[in-house]
Symmetry: C2
Subunit: 584 residues, 2 copies
């Protein structure tokens, strides 16, 4: 037996017991006459002590050979510490070592295994197995496991069945790019890895399973933006004989359960907002409502006064940044530069500063009278000490720009507190969005999303105005879940495919099995999927998902630890009947 | 709201309540003056009633339009049945329909949605979503979900952390064939899908996670034998600072928990048997010990008596088939033909029949005296009415042949009762097995398995004799789990790779990251993986795993429902910089 106890559990109540511990050497402090060793395992740290009075010279010698991250096994007597450490659970005791054996030695690790490490991102990714030894990473993985268990137990208690859907499925070029897998037994043919189990969960509803969930890996061969992973995890759910409200209630229940269990925060009811309202008030379909700064539309106040930029703009819109009147000219210039960066793309920024003393200063003083600016202040409900920031332009463009600015100001003002949780349902999404490149409508959610029944008559003539029975769950400005009521009528589904530019043949080739299934009594059904990586990170108080993934890939889709992807043998290619065909 | 209740929950206590149900029409019985409709959902069946006395002519008309598998919603009053059905929970009531709406119609399904269906395997696979509506399939999926929950809760309570390991990993040609995934962002390079998370779970141990588990999809591109799937599910586990005994105790605990919770069967302790004993007594490393019929070695009794076949054989070995003396000559001939099939490969079979009246009859009467045959009977501890079946040949070949015969006889005699559970640990496996084709040793378990410390000195000179710290958990003649203590010393691991014929360069290229990890303080660790599909099937009382998988593939690795794999677009191939290269 390697141990009788872990390194995290011995307290004063164990004094005088003889115990065996195993773990890693966190550090050695050699004072000559006494040597302390911190022994670490997953559960904590226990201090080992060797001293000239009570330990044999051989044992002292052995202890001096220990290096950082050596793996040792030790037996000794639990004694009370003279100098206690109140910061750790085992801080009142130490182990007077009687026996020590080195189970494995260690090279000096390439970075320190401490909560605050000296290792850079790249190095820590390469030696991820060492990074995982650090509490901040280890604790995140344990947290993730805990969230998954809570989700599974909650949904199981609600009557959901976890069903594993296949990973080797069929390529469907609609949507993002698939990863594909050549089939050796069916040469020239390929499986695809699922971007989501969407069609399978719908088939499970046709199959009468009534309530399905799965915590499942999904795959997208996208050019990776920061913090996107080619493989990611979803909590995938679907229900039959339900309407939008049933789904919202169920998953609001799940989310409340998680917030209560993990954060001890209780909610009455999550607020809801239509997509249209979210765009108008926040310029964003996933607004962060931990703070205000709602958009103030200023066309009436600021257009047609001779300031050409505003006069020509479709929309003049601003935010009131509370307490920011103290921003220096330099700070305001920096913000202006920030919104003018290509990633944001604003042409400029106007400010109206409402000074503490009640005076007003703006960057457009020569175009507007004080009276006009006071009207702006009135509309924005500004208080002395506030700063109004105004952008203008085409409504569709200026809103996202102002949204970005709003988030930037919130960040600067410390309004994005990760320990504050502000969930929000965004509902009534448009069914379709116009794809300017391909000159056609694309599904905003996916092709199986049901239009609102009252909007169906608009499908033919004004498809852009049709709203969907689709809903997103937003947490602190991040979409953590999204779903929709599905089409379960084969005629309507055909019409949708045709609206989306599928020929009947294409629709048949790609989704024939689903269309066919709909001929045999499909029930009304609806569902939702949570982005599990993001959900866990947010609940953990972080926005970066990478540390919540045991073995993440970098922005080129590489696992730098195992060095994958990598070339394969010619024999493997031959068996698959494929060849490399580098671009000329 | 589509329903106030499910179709499985209304009883006499609900009489006079007005309820709304939704579901599928299981069947319609039209007696003219009264129409009964069985309404089905996941939870059960409720009888709807329409009659001339109490229902409007319009409603009667509507009811007559219902076809099998139509999806309907209905509101009505719960009334007591005059003719009760004690076989279903809702059998005492029926619903007097007041409102009926057809939510979706259905074509006549291609097979009946009944517990006993008229649909063949092929058809049911193609319309799997309809097959899932049938109780036997639906119940299996629900059972699987329940087993998974039990496993997760048990292991979580034992301190195991569920960690998701990556699906897009690196190809390692050792072992079975990998499925590979071309990388678009790294042209000419490929990911592989994991055959198991073996190296990752070992890295998690190096990372100090101490106790890991995962219920995880694994992938093997094998030529599919019956009841093998290219994607399958494992309960994958690993522990640090443990010895073989700790792992056995932990997972025996899990298995006992499942048997208790699911079958209400309790075990004191699972029996254990060495690999050598299992092979000698059962000719099989996964013996079915629900019944006896242990091998009886008969060299002393039957060799050197002039019967050339036995005289030349290395091993003459038989089984005593209790109560089978009544087998007719025809039955025995059929068994002889059965063992002579190429799949089994025996050259013949000898029988000794111990008749009820105490007389003896054998197929080798002319070579052996009655006294000699009585010695055989004595050795076999046969009783009057038993039948001894004997095979002979090379020990390595005849044992598996007799093992197959033993199972066949057990099957015929009804000894393989799926409701009897006989777990067994098989231990002390050989570390290596000789690969005759490649003229080299291969790892019996995998290259990371630790030899027994006392056998390490044999590694150089007699590698074939080295036993491993490896163990299999066998249930009813099926291996449901297997694992080993891992090598955690980099020198020993290098030696193993070299024994297995890896050049240092190959070992470095394929497992460099693991070898490297071992330089930084790897703890002693050991683990185990259960075949989850098989485990669930056996616990469900079945040997065929297919029905416990929601969307299984056929023996050509095809999903006949969605028709995958399938050709992909040239554009996809171009983006991946690969080309089809059919065999000439």
């Amino acid at each position: 037996m390697y141990r009788t106890n872990t390194c995290g559990e011995l307290t004063e109540s164990n004094v005088n017991e003889t115990v065996t511990l195993s773990g890693w050497v966190q550090g050695v402090r050699d004072m000559g006459f006494v040597i302390w060793v911190d022994l670490r395992d997953r559960y904590g740290i226990t201090q080992l002590v060797f001293d000239e009075q009570r330990s044999s010279p051989e044992l002292m010698e052995q202890a001096r050979k220990l290096g950082r991250e050596f793996v040792i096994q030790t037996t000794g007597k639990v004694i009370e510490r003279t100098s206690k450490n109140p910061n750790i659970p085992t801080g009142n005791i130490e182990l007077l070592v009687e026996n020590l054996s080195i189970l494995n030695s260690s090279l000096t690790p390439p970075f320190t295994i401490e909560d605050e490490t000296d290792g850079g991102e790249e190095l820590r990714m390469k030696y991820r197995y060492l990074d995982i030894r650090r509490n901040p990473v280890k604790d995140k993985l344990i947290f993730r496991s805990k969230v998954a268990q809570l989700v599974r137990n909650y949904l199981s208690n609600e009557g959901f069945i976890e069903v594993e859907t296949p990973v080797l499925i069929k390529s469907t070029p609609e949507g993002a790019r698939d990863f594909v897998v050549p089939s050796r037994m069916n040469p020239g043919q390929f499986y695809a890895l699922p971007q989501s189990p969407q069609t399978f969960k719908q088939l499970l509803m046709v199959g009468g399973l009534d309530k399905y969930f799965q915590i499942v890996k999904c795959f997208r061969d996208e050019d990776l933006r920061a913090d996107r992973q080619p493989e990611f995890t979803q909590i995938d759910c679907e229900m039959s004989f339900v309407e939008q409200e049933d789904v919202i209630q169920t998953f609001e229940g799940l989310t409340k359960h998680l917030l209560k269990k993990l954060k001890n925060i209780e909610f009455e009811q999550f607020p809801r907002m239509s997509y249209e309202e979210a765009m108008r008030k926040y310029g964003n379909d996933k607004p962060d409502i931990r703070f205000g700064m709602q958009f103030i539309e200023l066309n009436d106040e600021l257009k047609n006064s001779g300031f050409k930029i505003f006069d020509e703009a479709e929309l003049v819109v601003g935010i009131n940044a509370e307490g920011c009147a103290s921003y220096t000219r330099k700070q305001i210039d920096a913000l202006t530069d920030w919104v003018k960066r290509p990633q944001i793309g604003a042409s400029g920024m106007v400010y109206v500063r409402y000074n503490e003393d009640g005076t007003i200063k703006s960057s457009v003083d020569k175009f507007y009278s004080e009276e006009q600016l006071r009207k702006v202040i009135e509309k924005a409900k500004s208080q002395p000490g506030d700063l109004i920031l105004i952008l203008s332009g085409n409504a569709d463009k200026v809103r996202p720009q102002l949204s970005a600015l709003r988030m930037e100001v919130a960040e600067k003002q410390g309004l994005r507190n990760p320990e504050v949780f502000a969930p929000l349902w965004v509902v009534d999404f448009p069914l379709l969005e116009w794809n300017e490149e391909e000159k056609r409508f694309a599904a905003m959610h996916h092709p199986f999303t049901s239009p609102k029944p009252e909007d169906i008559p608009l499908l033919e003539k004004e498809p852009g105005k049709v709203r969907a029975n689709a809903y997103d769950l937003v947490l602190n400005g991040n979409e953590i879940g999204g779903g929709s009521v599905r089409i379960f009528d084969k005629e309507l589904q055909s019409k949708m495919f045709s609206l989306l530019g599928f020929s009947p043949e294409d629709a048949e080739a790609q989704f024939g099995f689903l269309m066919n299934a709909f001929k045999f009594g499909a029930p009304p059904h609806a569902g939702l999927a949570f982005g599990f990586d993001r959900l866990v990170a947010l609940l953990g108080g972080q926005e970066v998902i990478r540390d919540y993934i045991a073995f993440p890939k970098n922005n080129s889709g590489r696992d730098v630890m195992i060095d994958a992807p990598s070339p394969i043998h010619q024999q493997q290619l031959d068996e698959l009947e494929i060849a490399l065909s580098p671009k000329k």
